[in-house]
């Protein structure tokens, strides 16, 4: 079973559309993981049935038993995150400010503070319209997006893929260069970069490649909307060649694609040009594995 992560650095380059299209083209061959958990979107295109749900906890949060609190103020003194305020009869801990470091609970003389697991989201295992399965999640607003939820989504998808003897797990990776994207990338067999010819996308591409190269992951690149700025497309091609990243496919700017996505359909369902590009990309991905 091979894990393939679709990543982009910058948001809005078409990463999720490409990933969802690959999911539909791969059909029963692949289990899907939506690891872009902060504002997950892939479900809008793949329409999962949310058949199994389970709460997800990550890290810890300090909780105070107000009855046991003696208002000594030690917790407030040691907290470096402004999470503790004192009232006349107890200390109060703000859940949104609490970093989960446990310092307050360590110093509390009356054992009034305990560290409890923090619920950060819900993970779903679903059937999707390709006939296969998808693992996805929602995050609590304002929760910390550590790599853990991302990793859990990925691991469950991989477990299903192994159990059902699928050839692939297709991962819709997180944007950015921080914790979540590292959790979606570490240990995958192949990374597929989706970029577009713009100054901002090129800037972000170089940053994500730096991260990918730390993990020595084999990488392919797709240029989406290549024809909106051909000079920038050529610039990307040169950069890719210099970084030894295979440029495997271009996708044209196409109002049919924009309309299809607005209607909840994937690129592969948008008409000839979109579906041909995705078919080409999928065959290039499979060619990596002979």
């Amino acid at each position: 079973m091979k894990e393939i992560a679709i990543v982009s650095g910058k948001g809005g380059t078409g990463k999720t559309s490409v990933a969802a299209s690959l999911a539909l083209v791969a059909g029963m061959e692949a289990v899907i993981a939506d690891c872009d958990v902060d504002a997950a979107n892939m479900h809008l295109l793949l329409r999962p049935d949310f058949s199994e749900a389970c709460d997800f906890y990550s890290g810890e949060i300090a909780v105070i038993d107000k009855g046991m609190c003696r208002v000594c103020g030690k917790c407030m003194e040691v907290c470096h995150f402004d999470a503790v305020t004192l009232t006349d009869s107890y200390a109060e801990i703000s859940a949104i400010n609490c970093e989960g470091c446990g310092y307050c609970s360590y110093v509390c003389g009356s054992s009034a503070i305990t560290m409890v697991p923090a619920k950060t989201g819900v993970v779903y295992e679903s059937n999707i319209r390709s006939g296969s399965k998808m693992v996805h999640a929602t995050m609590e607003p304002g929760a910390e997006n550590s790599g853990k939820l991302v990793f859990n989504v990925r691991e469950r998808a991989a477990d299903i893929a192994r159990r059902e003897q699928k050839g692939f797990t297709i991962i819709d990776g997180s944007p950015g260069i921080g914790c979540p994207v590292i959790a979606s990338l570490s240990g995958v067999s192949l990374a597929v970069l989706v970029t577009e010819p713009s100054v901002a996308a090129i800037h972000d591409l170089l940053r994500i490649v730096e991260v990918i190269q730390q993990f020595r992951i084999r990488t392919l690149c797709v240029i989406n909307k290549y024809d909106i700025n051909r000079a920038k497309t050529n610039e990307i091609k040169l950069l890719l060649a210099n970084m030894n990243i295979a440029h495997v496919c271009d996708i044209a700017y196409d109002s049919d694609i924009a309309k299809a996505i607005a209607a909840g359909k994937a690129m592969s369902e948008s008409g000839k040009r979109g579906s041909r590009a995705i078919a080409e990309l999928w065959s290039k991905i499979k060619a990596v594995y002979g």
């Binding site: 990550s58 550590s146 853990k148 990793f151 691991e155 590292i182 570490s186 730390q214 020595r216 992951i217």
Partner: protein, 112 residues
Amino acid sequence: MRILFTSTGESWDSVIDPRFGRTEYLVLYDEESDSLSVTDNRSAKNEAHGAGRATAKVVSDLKPDILITGNGPGGNASGAIKGMNMKIFINAHNLTIKEAYDNYRNKKLTEL
């Protein structure tokens, strides 16, 4: 030599876990005593932060001479591992522990 494998299972026929930090098991083969011992590392995946470092601590306590794994430790763990006086071989993905050991003996694995 004490040779440690990141593994998805508990025997010679288990497949190498390509991940270091969140590897499910650590399988140690002691060549001198010809014995295999297994450490369950499944709790590492529940670490919100620094699974690689938590695993590094477990590895350090096992005192291996050689580590055989898939991708190699990520940035978080490699700093901790550097000081451990242990050789690391990578790219053993998709091999069983037995095959990875044979490849190591035949010098077919990449040293980090």
